[in-house]
């Protein structure tokens, strides 16, 4: 029983709570995972958007540089013979009008010999410069060469931009290379717009993986900082996530059109997690609250489920103990309520059936009692009548007369108009007439006396209750007693109860015999009324209750006293009790 209680009341909520906790934990892990991938994806998207913007801006700048270059080429170099005066003036004008962006211009022939140069450049041969060979090899495009420091005091740098050109010298078209030195400021300005911090920065690589721009270029050149992402960036197609220095880094790269440059954006993914910790906390807290609520509702719900069951169980136990009046409380949910209701219906039916059985039993007993009452042993009548005949024959008319009148009284009271309960007076009369008959028959073998409290005589007493005790006294007590036997009937009140003592001074009975008489259906004599002492006891108990009845006290050689104890009931009450009995049945 205890085990079952444990299993249902504790085990089920426990299992449910564990499942809920498990679910919530899985949700937390899933959410965290989802959010972290979401954040990473968002960062990638955001970074690539910024990357696109930066690349677009650089490409636009490259476009404008290209158009300046092409403009100089197509509108001046290609148009005018270099011997023409216009040639030099137009080129010089071109530089002055673009002096903010262009540092210098120079034209070389295919051997690297300088043909023309702006004032701030020298006429040295440039045959071995990389931008020169590049331009010669790639005739279609403008080549973006390496950076060069031009203003040592101002730390200004230029891109060496070169292009294959065709110029006219004395009417002859010749191949050559045009060099334009363009300040890096415009491109640097674009890249400086990006928030350049240790955790998130961008840099620009030329097509030989040299830095064209890096926010920490000074630290790099002085060896304080080392850029490790270059190789990874160049090997990845769009972006890659790599673990460096213990944290994950997002490295995005995009090639800049026309130049073969690469812009690389590097940002730490460690930051996005710490920056967005609030979201994690909020979601974890929410899930925790949901989990707690679920566990509580689970426990409450189970309480609600099991409580009616246990109430019903208690009721059933009570019912089992014999308290048929108990009713199960009809609460609980759905089937549980019906269960209680059905139990109640069952209990009621059972109770009704039990009542019926009891009623039947009572009826049966009553019938039995009636039967016994009417069963006045015929032997008694024959014997008495024989005695009367004998007395008449022997001329003892007076005795015979007395006997006949006694017999008549005896039978009148025996019948008593079919009443069960008669006044004590009548019962005593009945007992006296019986004793008188027996005394005559036993030839005054014993004396008898009746001492009754006059006040008690009108109280009621079950019919034929004293006679069996007398019979008992005569046949058991007077056996072997000659002439000096004495039977006394005394009626008195004690403790507000009526006591009727029938005592004899006979031999007394051993305990065993008393027990036997009290518990077995025996009649003292075949010639008697045929009603046993036990029957009297049972009837009294049946009528008045268990606390009343017959007791026998016997002492060997001293005598026996049988006592009837009944309550004081008057005639009016008798009717009531009879009625109440009837209603009860």
């Amino acid at each position: 029983m205890n085990n079952k209680k444990l299993s249902i009341r504790v085990l089920f909520p426990l299992i449910m709570s564990i499942s809920i906790v498990f679910c919530i934990l899985s949700c937390m892990i899933l959410f965290s995972h989802y959010i972290s991938t979401y954040l990473v994806r968002k960062t990638i998207e955001e970074t690539s958007r910024q990357k696109n913007v930066l690349a677009q801006n650089i490409e636009n700048e490259i476009d404008s540089i290209n158009s300046i270059m092409n403009n100089i080429y197509y509108n001046t170099i290609k148009k005018y013979d270099i011997q023409d005066k216009n040639f030099k003036t137009i080129l010089a004008n071109e530089i002055t009008s673009n002096s903010e962006t262009i540092y210098g211009l120079a034209l070389y022939d295919t051997d690297g010999k300088n043909l023309w140069h702006s004032n701030n450049l020298t006429s040295t041969s440039m045959q071995n410069e990389s931008w020169f060979t590049q331009a010669k090899d790639n005739i279609e495009t403008i080549c973006y060469g390496s950076k060069k420091l031009v203003y040592p005091d101002n730390v200004k740098q230029v891109f060496q931009i070169s292009r294959y050109v065709e110029y006219i010298n004395h009417g002859k078209m010749k191949s050559g290379v045009l060099l334009m030195q363009y300040y890096t400021d415009s491109i640097d300005a674009i890249l400086e717009h990006y928030k350049n911090t240790q955790n998130s920065y961008c840099y620009l690589l030329d097509n030989t993986s040299n830095f064209l721009y890096h926010p920490f270029i000074k630290e790099i050149s002085s060896g304080l900082y080392k850029e490790n992402t270059t190789k990874i960036a160049l090997n990845s197609t769009n972006y890659s996530i790599k673990k460096l220095h213990g944290t994950k880094w997002l490295i995005e790269r995009q090639q800049i059109g026309y130049t073969g440059w690469n812009i690389v954006l590097v940002s730490s993914l460690f930051n996005i997690h710490t920056e967005n910790m609030g979201i994690y906390y909020v979601i974890w807290l929410l899930l925790l609250i949901v989990g707690i609520i679920l566990v509580f509702t689970d426990i409450l719900l189970f309480h609600d489920f099991t409580n009616p069951v246990y109430q019903l169980l208690d009721t059933m136990q009570e019912f089992g103990k014999g308290n048929y009046e108990v009713k199960a409380a009809e609460n609980g949910i759905g089937e549980l309520k019906t269960l209680s209701a059905h139990f109640n219906i069952m209990a009621e039916k059972l109770q009704n059936q039990m009542g019926e059985i009891r009623r039947n039993e009572r009826e049966k007993r009553k019938m039995e009692k009636k039967l016994l009452q009417s069963q006045i042993n015929p032997h008694f009548l024959y014997n008495t009548l024989d005695s009367i005949i004998w007395m008449i024959q022997s001329g003892e008319y007076k005795g015979a007369e007395q006997m006949v009148s006694s017999l008549a009284k005896f039978f009148r009271i025996s019948l008593s108009q079919g009443k069960d309960i008669i006044p004590l007076e009548k019962e005593l009369e009945h007992a006296t007439s019986y004793l008188a008959i027996q005394n005559i028959r036993f030839k005054d073998k014993f004396e008898f006396s009746v001492q009754a409290d006059k006040k008690l005589l009108h109280y009621l007493c079950p019919k034929l209750s004293i006679q069996p005790l007398l019979e008992n006294a005569i046949y058991h007590g007077m056996e072997g007693v000659y002439d000096d036997g004495e039977i006394t009937i005394s009626v008195y009140e004690k403790d507000n109860l009526i006591h009727i003592d029938v005592s004899d001074n006979g031999l007394g009975m051993p305990e065993k015999v008393v027990e036997y008489i009290m518990h077995n259906r025996v009649v003292s004599s075949k010639r008697g009324s045929g009603i046993g002492v036990r029957n009297v006891d049972e009837r009294i108990k049946l009528i008045y209750g268990e606390q009343y009845g017959v007791t026998i006290e016997s002492e060997l050689d001293e005598g026996t006293t049988a006592t009837i104890i009944i309550p004081k009931l008057e005639e009016t009450a008798e009717i009531n009790s009879d009625e109440s009995n009837k209603t009860k049945l």
């Binding site: 490409e59 290609k78 078209m173 191949s175 026309y258 130049t259 073969g260």
Partner: protein
């Protein structure tokens, strides 16, 4: 109780069925139809060369089947406008085309286009207007099909050399022992224009050339005619040869001479357009260079077929057709 259980089970069963079917519908690849979709972005259909080129390409595609599939193509004409082409390309990226054929308006913008196609994982064949080699390396699924332009220029020089050698008396009208010529270039910065001129220049070192002037006419017949008419009459009168980067501009110059009833100089073009060819056969124009357009178109179709079969390992990024001279 039993019926309850049964109904619960049936509800559960239906739910599972619904779930499974949604997942399958979701995951099921979009129904394969028997067509291959190709988007063709064209720089300008008014350009006679491009028009001719695309028409030939259409015919070729219509006639061929790509591994048993019909090809549906959509042509987007940018009308020479870079912005318009950008819009068209943005649309094309989202249309689930199996491959794109792109004739860029501005080859210098190739990088942004190829970055996009690389992101969308769409194979791209660029044609006619070449982009920088560095830009082509952005996407692995990119090829360029064009012509060996430098060679075409060289062929022009060879033809001129040939005439100079065999018919110098007629060519050197002013008898100054120099070949006075006017150079008419195509679109500035266009790879083919630069290369054709460069090819001509490098291969004409032995000729006593005297460039009277050069002009750029954007490949266009009308523009060439107009720009030519604005030159000094003295220059036009002394011009013994007109070297053009393409046939249209050559025909523009031809138009000028016909309008003004002047004696035609030696005119050289490139492309071998039908009209040009006809003029050559009539003896009015000296010659032109055939770019091997039909070879290019065959190559595009072959490449397209292998792209659709994902068998492009043997292809180089850049392929040039071989030009050859056309003269009477």
């Amino acid at each position: 109780m039993k019926t309850n259980l049964f109904s619960y089970n049936s509800i559960l069963f239906t739910l599972i069925i619904i779930l499974i079917s949604t997942i399958t519908i979701w995951k099921l690849p979009q129904t394969q139809n028997g067509y291959t979709h190709i988007g063709i972005a064209v720089y300008d259909m008014d350009d006679t060369f491009i028009n001719d080129y695309v028409t030939k390409l259409q015919n070729k595609i219509d006639r061929s089947s790509f591994s048993g599939k019909k090809v549906l193509y959509e042509i987007f004409d940018a009308e020479g406008n870079a912005n318009r082409q950008e819009h068209q390309l943005q649309y094309m990226y989202t249309q689930n085309f199996d491959a794109l054929l792109i004739n860029l308006v501005t080859p210098s913008s190739a990088a942004s286009v190829l970055n996009e196609t690389a992101n969308h994982d769409i194979p791209v064949i660029l044609f006619n207007r070449e982009a920088d080699k560095k830009d082509l390396s952005i996407s692995k699924q990119t090829w360029y099909v064009g012509t060996a332009a430098k060679k075409a220029g060289a062929i022009q020089a060879d033809m001129l050399q040939n005439v100079w050698n065999t018919d110098k008396i007629n060519l050197d009208r002013n008898k100054n022992n120099k070949l006075d010529y006017i150079l008419i270039e195509g679109e500035q910065t266009h790879f083919d224009a630069v290369r054709r001129t460069n090819g001509f220049l490098e291969n004409s070192q032995n000729l006593p050339l005297n460039q009277l002037t050069n002009l750029s006419a954007d490949w266009q017949r009308n523009l060439a005619s107009v720009k030519f008419s604005k030159l000094d009459t003295s220059i036009i009168q002394s011009a013994e040869a007109i070297i053009c980067n393409n046939d249209d501009m050559a025909l523009g110059v031809y138009d000028y001479y016909k309008q003004h009833n002047l004696k035609l100089p030696l005119i050289l073009g490139i492309n071998n357009s039908p009209e040009m060819n006809q003029k050559i056969q009539a003896g009015e124009i000296y010659g032109t260079v055939d770019n091997g357009t039909s070879d290019q178109i065959s190559y595009i179709c072959k490449l397209l077929n292998d792209i659709l079969n994902k068998d492009t390992a043997k292809y180089h990024k850049i392929w040039y057709s071989k030009p050859f001279a056309i003269e009477k």
